[in-house]
Structures are given as structure tokens and as C-alpha cells.
């Protein structure tokens, strides 16, 4: 029974994993990855770690991958660019290295006599909580600090660049031009207003390099 389930979920995991790599469309990769996560969660349940399974689903499938899909949609990337691949040699290299890795693991697995204890029932949330808040409190706190740093870093990174804040407002009397006049690449819905006297200065203020500004 368990064996069947194992085979089912393991197969599902491997299949989805292969799909992650094989798919050209990042969104499909993401969906396949969610599949991997869920099947792994089921395996965790089989391994008597329901808590970890639930957290796996919530954190990975529910949060991280949602973010990834969100970003994919935001950037709206279609097929992977088919530009010339300057590193073709990497594909065979990767395959060879992967083969070596598998070989080594197989060697280890077969050469080691594996002890076969029974699956125990230690994955209860209570036991994990106890350990986490008594003996391994320090790592727990450290991870919280790590998360804080991640939040700050992400906000810093994702803030829109340029010398002006998004709250830049139009000063009455200043000339108002569409930004596309200054920056051809600008998104048409970028409505930030800058007070300047010349398009060049506007470009400077917006942090756009002047190379692609119309020279007229």
C-alpha cells in the first residue's frame, strides 16, 4: 500500500521535476514545480511529518511559488529568449556532470548497508514546537532576523530607480511633457511628473541615459 503511494508520488515528483527543466515557458515550469512540492508534501505525510508537509504546502506552494508566478505575470515573459546561446557547451557538460552525480550517489547507496528502522511518529506539531522553542531557540530567532533582512532587502531592490521619488509632483507653471518624449523606452502609463526646463534635464532627473534621447 505505502509502496504504491510512494511510487505514485515519487513518479509524480520526478515527472514534474523533469517538466520544470524541460518546459520552455517559465509559467509551465512554475506549475510543474508546484506539482513537485505537493507530491513532496504527500511524501512527508507518509514519512510521518504532517506538520512539515503542511508548512511545505503553505510556504512553498502557497507563498513562494505564488510570488514567482506573480512575478512571471508581472514581467509577462513569454517563451524563453531564443537568442544565440553563447554557452552551448554547457548542455553536454551539465548532462555529463549529472550522470557523474547520479553514479556517485548510486555507488554510495549501494555500498552502504542501510539500517532499516521503522517510520516513527515524531512529526507531531507539538514535538517540533517544543524542540523549536526550547533547545533550538537561537536558530529560530536567527531565521526571524534573516526574514527581516530579506524584507528590507526586497523593498530596497524593488523600489523604482531614478533620482525622483514616486511622489514627485508637478510644480504649477512648469512645462508638462509626456515622458515618452524623453525616454523612448518608457512605459506609456508612467505618469511621474518632473519639473524641468529641458528634455535633457528631465532625462537626467529621471535617471535615463541620454544616448537614446531624440537629438532635435
Amino acid at each position: 500500500m505505502l509502496t504504491l503511494l510512494f511510487i505514485l508520488f515519487a513518479g509524480m515528483a520526478i515527472g514534474c521535476g523533469l517538466a520544470v527543466v524541460a518546459q520552455r515557458n517559465p509559467l509551465y515550469s512554475a506549475i510543474s514545480l508546484v506539482g513537485v512540492f505537493i507530491s513532496l508534501a504527500c511524501l512527508y505525510v507518509m514519512l510521518a511529518a504532517p506538520f512539515i508537509a503542511a508548512v511545505q504546502v503553505i510556504v512553498y506552494a502557497g507563498a513562494i511559488m505564488v510570488l514567482v508566478v506573480f512575478v512571471i505575470m508581472l514581467l509577462n515573459v513569454e517563451q524563453e529568449e531564443r537568442g544565440r546561446n553563447r554557452l552551448k557547451f554547457l548542455v553536454p557538460t551539465a548532462v555529463v556532470l549529472a550522470a557523474v552525480l547520479i553514479a556517485e550517489v548510486a555507488f554510495i547507496l549501494f555500498s552502504v548497508t542501510n539500517p532499516t528502522p521503522a517510520v516513527s511518529n515524531i512529526g507531531l506539531s507539538s514535538s517540533i514546537g517544543t524542540q523549536l522553542f526550547t533547545r533550538y531557540l537561537l536558530p529560530f530567532e536567527i531565521t526571524s532576523i534573516l526574514l527581516l533582512m530579506a524584507i528590507v532587502g526586497a523593498m530596497t531592490l524593488a523600489r523604482r530607480g531614478g533620482l525622483l521619488s514616486n511622489e514627485a509632483r508637478l510644480i504649477p507653471g512648469a512645462q508638462q511633457l509626456p515622458r515618452s518624449l524623453v525616454d523612448p523606452r518608457a512605459a506609456p502609463d508612467d505618469l511621474r511628473l518632473v519639473e524641468t526646463d529641458s528634455t535633457v534635464e528631465a532625462g537626467h532627473l529621471l535617471g535615463i541615459d541620454q544616448r537614446n534621447t531624440p537629438k532635435d
Partner: protein, 713 residues
């Protein structure tokens, strides 16, 4: 006895220096700066006098006043505190240092009037006082060395005070470097002292957990080392003494390290008076007297000290005979007087040396300040050939300087007479360093006498050229026009302000009566039966006496030279001064005193006769050029070192070896980088592949190693 007032003595000038340096430079008000500087020194003067003369003060009690400020160095058994100690010797020294220093500060306020770097000058001067007092009051060699270096630094700064003049800068560097040579000896001496005695402290200071046997008390129980040349390198007391003497020679301008002192006159005159006449240059004497316990156990070193001292005295006196710069004359006279002091130390008359240090501080400071007053009046004219007849222009200066002149020439009742006579007599009756006969000490006495004669002569020459004769400064205008520091056309000499004359008068009084603190019994007994030699009473307990063993060769001089350092008394506890003075030696001493008086008067007479009418009398070239010593040093030492550094060290070693090495390293790194660049192409995927490769290698390694000791199923 602990007494924390002691630290006030040294820290008051330090505070003054700090205030002048940080605040005075902003205020730029001469009144403020002057008050701060003089006030600081005045404070330490008052404290010093209080501590010295209070009922259980330093000059009355056996045990020194101690002030353990903080534990400074504590390495294993090596223990040096930042601690002050004021015993009878250092107390006496601190007294005249602070007092003369105060007078000179006051003088300088007038002398330096209108100078650009007024605040700077007084900051340095206060700093010097701090360093000098640290040197004097230090209770161990290391702290003393700190003060030693401090005074060296301040002397450097103050000699180079007019740093826009080249000769000042050169003189400053010369002084500094020459002192380095001396300090080298001093440091080695300190180290050797520690290795031999296991301590660097002068006084046992249980309060600071100090070992009870100190660097000095260590030797009391030791036998006297033999009088051989080998003892110098034997690493015992003699070696220590010789090394310390090298330091003293550097600081106190003895042969062969005296060359910096004459050039040091490039500094302002108060500096010359304070540092290069009264206080700093006598630090060497102080150090030797402080270590007298060591020296009396090292007859060889004593011998060297005496010889060097005598030679310096004569040598410098001859040079002084021919100088035309008023300050140069005084400088060489200082050197020769220092030679006197070392001569005294050499023959074991440490008290006499201190005595001469004090009186010399008085009259030499007086003379220097007088010359400063003259220079001030002459608008910075120092050449005596362009003076003359100043008598009626600056009467106070003339009168006071005349007193100084008589004092240094050894005319009775003036201070110089007693101390110089004391030294001469002690030299005459000195033990003979194990030489077969006492002829040698007689020889030293002869040198001393000649020096005294020469001293009188050249001092007379100076006075005559400056104050008598027709007034040469007007016709000197012709070639004084192109000098830059000339303020206005014809110089009209004028008397100096009271700020300058008051110190002169005070010093004049002191150089007159200052000698009475040490009137030898032989002379005083003519009037009273009480021994009134105060200085000797004071210093006897702290100054070591020559053990009898040294001059066993010459028993005749054994019957104690009475009042002067009972030589056959056990070292620590001096005999009470009550022992009898055998009549014949009293008469001998009186006779010698008469002789020295005659010598002095004769010198004055000769000088008067020679120069009264021919002040510009041409002196022997050899003397005028100071025996070409500077040139000899230049050719023998400086040139070779310079050329060696330039040609050898710089062009070959530095450029060739070091730079070559560095360049080759840099190129190697560049080459390596050029190769490694291919790995860092910036392609993340490439990095990932390389990481995986490394991981695989590691895994394979572990798998292999693990397989060694795992039996496959």
C-alpha cells in the same frame, strides 16, 4: 611618605603648556599667554618650596617624598611606575630649577615681546619645565628617561624656534641627533642596570608594591670593581657607569658630544639661559650624582669621567677665548663649567658638583639673560665687535652682568668662588684611582686651575668688548644695512623693560650670596666654629661616598677630608659632621683657596691688560675655528654616512632590491589574474557548473574514503 602634591609640580607646567597651545593660539594675547605660562611655573615653584622646606619636608627627612601616580609598566619582574620621588637631592634640584625657570619665564615675557609665535614659545617652555621636573623627580630610570627625552624634544623645538632661519633648523637637528648618540648609551645603561640589579627604581616604594632592593641599594653590598680597562666591558657596575656617562656626556655636552651646544645658541636667548645653561645641560650631572652609588663602585668609570671632564673644561675654555659672538662665548664657557662639574663627579666630589651646578645655574643664567638684554637693546646684534661702551646705555644690565662676571671668575664672596674652589680642592686631594701616586689628581688640579684662569680671561674679554671701549655699533651700521632683521637705521641701545631687568637683579643677588649655602669648613672656621655648610648637611645622606678600598694605594690622604664626604665612612649612614678637621688640611685648603683667588684675579688682570685698549685683538685662527672639530666630524662621520646612504642604501638596496621585489610581485599577480580571468567570465551558469564540479570531486573523495572502511552488503 606619600604626598600627592608632588604631581602638581610637574603637571602644572603641563597644564600651562596645554592651555597655551590650545587656547593661547586662539587668544593671541601676550598678556594672557604670559600670565598662564609664568603662573604655571610659579605654582610648581611654590609647591616645590613648600614640600622642600615644610617641617617634615624633603630636605629634612631621611625618607623621600613619594607620589605613585599610576603603575606604568609591569612586565614580569620588570616594574616601572609613573611615580615621583623627592628626596634631598632631587628636592634641591627641583628648587633651583623651578626658581630659575620662573625668573627666566618672566624675563622671556619681556624678551619675546612682539614675536609671531609667542604662544608657541611659551607652550614649549612650559612643556620643557614639565619634562625637566619629570626628569628630576622621577623615581626610576625609565621615567627619568622619559623626562630625558622630553627635555631633548623641547630643546629641539626651542632651538628651532626661528624655523624660518636655516641655521636654527640645522642647529636643532644637530642637537637632536647628537643627543640621540648619548641616549643610546643611556638606554643601554638602563637595560644593563635592569639585567644586573633586577630593578630600575631609585627608591624602595613599598606602597607601590616595589621590590625593597632597588637599582642603587643593590650595589651597596657589592665589592668595588677593580681599576682595569677590562672592567669597562665586564658588564658590571663599570659598564653601567660608562654607558650612563655616555648619556650624560650627550646631554651635558662633554667631549666628544659637545658640538651641538654652541650651535644651540641659534635659539632665543631665554632658551639658551634656561635650557642650555641652567637646567637641561646639568641633567647629566644630576643623573651621575643620582647614580653615585654605581659610580663609586666603578673607579674606571670615575677615572674616565674625571679625565673627560677636565679635558672638556680646558678645551672649551680655550675655544671660548676666541669667540666673537657674545652667546657663543657664554656657550663655550657653559661647556667648560660643565666640564668642571664632571671633573668633580669624577673625583668623587658629588656634593661639590651639585654645589657648582647650583651656583652655575645662578650666574650663568644671569650672564645669559644679561647678554639677552644686551642683544635686545642692540636690536638682535650678537657680534661683540659691533658693541662696546654699552655701559652707560644699559646700566642695570651692566651692573648685574658684572656681578655674574666676578662670580664666574671666582672672585671671593661671589657664588662661583666657593663652588669652584671646592671642586679644585677636592680634585687636589682626590683619591688616586689606584694609580701609584696622587700625581694624577694633582695634574687634574692643574688643568682645573688653568681653566679657571682662562675662564677669567675670556669673561673679562667679553665684558670689555661689550661694555667698555669706544662705541663700535654706529660705524658697524655700514654692513648691517643688508641684514633682513634690521628694524631701523642707526641702532640706539636702550635699557630693557623691568620685566627683563627684575630677573637680572634677582639673579645677581643670588649669584652674590648663593655661595654661602656651601661654605667649606676651612673657610667658615675662620669666623665661626660651627660648620655652616648647609648644602653638605642636606646632601650627605643621599650621595654615595667613595669607599676606602679605592685609594688603598695612597693611605696618606685617608684621614678623612673632614667636612667633605667622609670617605672612610660606611656608605649608607654618613658619619656625623662633628668629626675633627685636622689643622694641616685646613691650612692646605685655605692655601689652595688663596691660590685659586689669585688665579682668578690674575686672569681678570690679564684679560683687562690684553683687551682693554685692543678689544678687536686678533685671536689665533685655530681657536676661532674651534679646532675645526665640526669640519672633522663632517669629514669623518657625516659625509661617509650620507654618501653611503645615498649610493648604497637608496640607489642599490631600495631601488634595486625592495622596489624590484615589489614590482615582480605585482607583475606575478597580474599574470595570474590574466589567467584566472577566463574563469570569471561573468556567466552565472558557468559558475554553477564549476561549483557542481567541485562538489562532485568532494563527494567522490568522501565516497572513496568511506568505502575504505565500509563493507558492502
Amino acid at each position: 611618605m606619600e604626598n600627592n602634591l608632588l604631581s602638581l609640580i610637574i603637571f602644572a607646567p603641563l597644564a600651562g603648556a596645554a592651555i597655551n597651545w590650545f587656547v593661547g593660539r586662539r587668544v593671541r594675547d601676550e598678556r594672557f599667554v604670559g600670565v598662564v605660562a609664568c603662573g604655571a611655573v610659579a605654582i610648581s615653584t611654590l609647591v616645590a618650596f613648600y614640600l622642600a622646606f615644610k617641617p617634615d619636608g624633603a630636605l629634612h627627612s631621611e625618607a623621600p617624598l613619594l607620589d605613585h601616580i599610576w603603575t606604568w609598566l609591569q612586565v614580569g619582574t620588570f616594574h616601572a611606575d609613573f611615580a615621583l620621588a623627592m628626596d634631598r637631592l632631587s628636592g634641591t634640584y627641583a628648587l633651583f630649577v623651578t626658581f630659575v625657570g620662573l625668573l627666566i619665564h618672566v624675563f622671556a615675557v619681556g624678551y619675546m615681546h612682539g614675536e609671531q609665535g609667542f604662544y608657541r614659545f611659551f607652550a614649549f617652555l612650559n612643556l620643557f619645565m614639565f619634562a625637566m621636573l619629570t626628569l628630576v623627580l622621577a623615581d626610576n630610570f625609565v621615567l627619568m628617561f622619559v623626562g630625558w627625552e622630553g627635555v631633548g624634544l623641547c630643546s629641539y623645538l626651542l632651538i628651532g624656534y626661528y624655523f624660518d632661519r636655516k641655521e636654527a633648523g640645522d642647529a636643532a637637528k644637530k642637537a637632536f641627533i647628537t643627543n640621540r648618540i648619548g641616549d643610546w648609551g643611556f638606554v643601554l645603561g638602563i637595560m644593563l642596570t635592569f639585567f644586573v640589579t633586577g630593578s630600575v627604581s631609585f627608591f624602595a616604594n613599598p606602597a607601590a608594591g616595589e621590590v625593597t632592593h632597588t637599582a642603587l641599594s643593590f650595589f651597596q653590598t657589592r665589592p668595588v670593581e677593580p681599576f682595569t680597562a677590562g672592567a669597562i666591558i665586564a658588564g658590571g657596575a663599570t659598564s653601567i657607569a660608562v654607558l650612563l656617562f655616555i648619556g650624560a656626556a650627550g646631554k651635558s655636552a662633554q667631549i666628544p658630544l659637545y658640538v651641538w651646544l654652541p650651535d644651540a645658541m641659534a635659539g632665543p636667548t631665554p632658551v639658551s639661559a634656561l635650557i642650555h645653561a641652567a637646567t637641561m645641560v646639568t641633567a647629566g650631572v644630576y643623573m651621575i650624582v643620582r647614580c653615585s652609588e654605581i659610580f663609586v663602585h666603578a673607579p674606571t668609570a670615575m677615572f674616565i669621567v674625571a679625565v673627560i671632564g677636565a679635558a672638556t673644561a680646558l678645551f672649551a675654555a680655550t675655544i671660548g677665548l676666541a669667540q666673537n659672538d657674545i652667546k657663543k662665548v657664554l656657550a663655550y664657557s657653559t661647556i667648560s663649567q660643565l666640564g668642571y662639574m664632571f671633573l668633580a663627579c669624577g673625583v668623587g666630589a658629588f656634593i661639590a658638583a651639585i654645589f657648582h651646578v647650583i651656583t652655575h645655574a645662578f650666574f650663568k643664567a644671569l650672564l645669559f639673560l644679561g647678554s639677552g638684554s644686551v642683544i635686545h637693546g642692540m636690536h638682535h646684534e650678537q657680534d661683540m665687535r659691533r658693541m662696546g661702551g654699552l655701559r652707560k646705555y644699559m646700566p642695570i644690565t651692566f651692573a648685574t652682568m658684572a656681578i655674574g662676571w666676578l662670580a664666574i671668575s671666582g672672585v671671593p664672596i661671589f657664588a662661583g668662588f666657593f663652588s669652584k674652589d671646592e671642586i679644585l680642592w677636592r680634585t687636589w686631594s682626590a683619591p688616586a684611582f689606584g694609580l701609584p701616586s696622587t700625581t694624577f689628581s694633582k695634574l687634574l688640579w692643574a688643568i682645573g686651575a688653568i681653566t679657571a684662569f682662562l675662564t677669567a680671561v675670556y669673561m673679562t674679554r667679553m665684558m670689555v668688548m661689550t661694555f667698555w671701549g669706544q662705541e663700535r655699533f654706529r660705524d658697524a651700521q655700514a654692513h648691517k644695512q643688508q641684514e633682513p632683521d634690521e628694524h631701523h637705521g642707526p641702532v640706539e641701545p636702550h635699557e630693557s623693560p623691568w620685566l627683563m631687568t627684575v630677573p637680572l637683579i634677582v639673579l645677581a643677588v643670588l649669584s652674590t650670596v648663593g655661595g654661602f649655602i656651601g661654605v667649606p669648613y676651612a673657610l667658615s672656621s675662620a669666623f665661626t666654629n660651627r660648620n655652616i655648610n648647609v648644602l653638605e648637611h642636606t646632601l650627605e645622606p643621599v650621595v654615595a661616598t667613595v669607599p676606602p678600598g679605592i685609594h688603598a694605594a695612597e693611605p696618606t690622604s685617608l684621614p678623612g677630608e673632614g667636612a667633605h664626604a667622609p670617605e672612610n665612612a660606611p656608605a649608607p649612614v654618613p658619619e656625623p659632621v662633628a668629626h675633627e678637621h685636622s689643622s694641616e688640611e685646613v691650612t692646605a685648603e685655605r692655601m689652595l683657596a688663596g691660590v685659586s683667588v689669585l688665579i682668578g684675579l690674575l686672569g681678570i688682570g690679564v684679560g683687562w691688560y690684553l683687551f682693554k685698549n685692543r678689544p678687536l685683538l686678533q685671536m689665533p685662527r685655530l681657536l676661532e675655528n674651534k679646532y675645526y672639530v665640526d669640519e672633522i666630524y663632517d669629514a669623518a662621520l657625516i659625509r661617509p654616512i650620507e654618501s653611503g646612504s645615498r649610493e648604497g642604501l637608496w640607489k642599490i638596496f631600495d631601488v634595486g632590491v625592495i622596489d624590484g621585489l615589489l614590482h615582480s610581485i605585482g607583475e606575478a599577480v597580474t599574470e595570474a589574474g590574466r589567467l584566472a580571468r577566463y574563469l570569471q567570465a561573468g556567466f552565472v551558469r558557468g559558475y554553477a557548473a564549476i561549483i557542481l564540479l567541485g562538489a562532485l570531486i568532494l563527494i567522490g573523495l568522501f565516497a572513496y574514503l568511506g568505502f575504505q572502511n565500509i563493507t558492502p552488503p
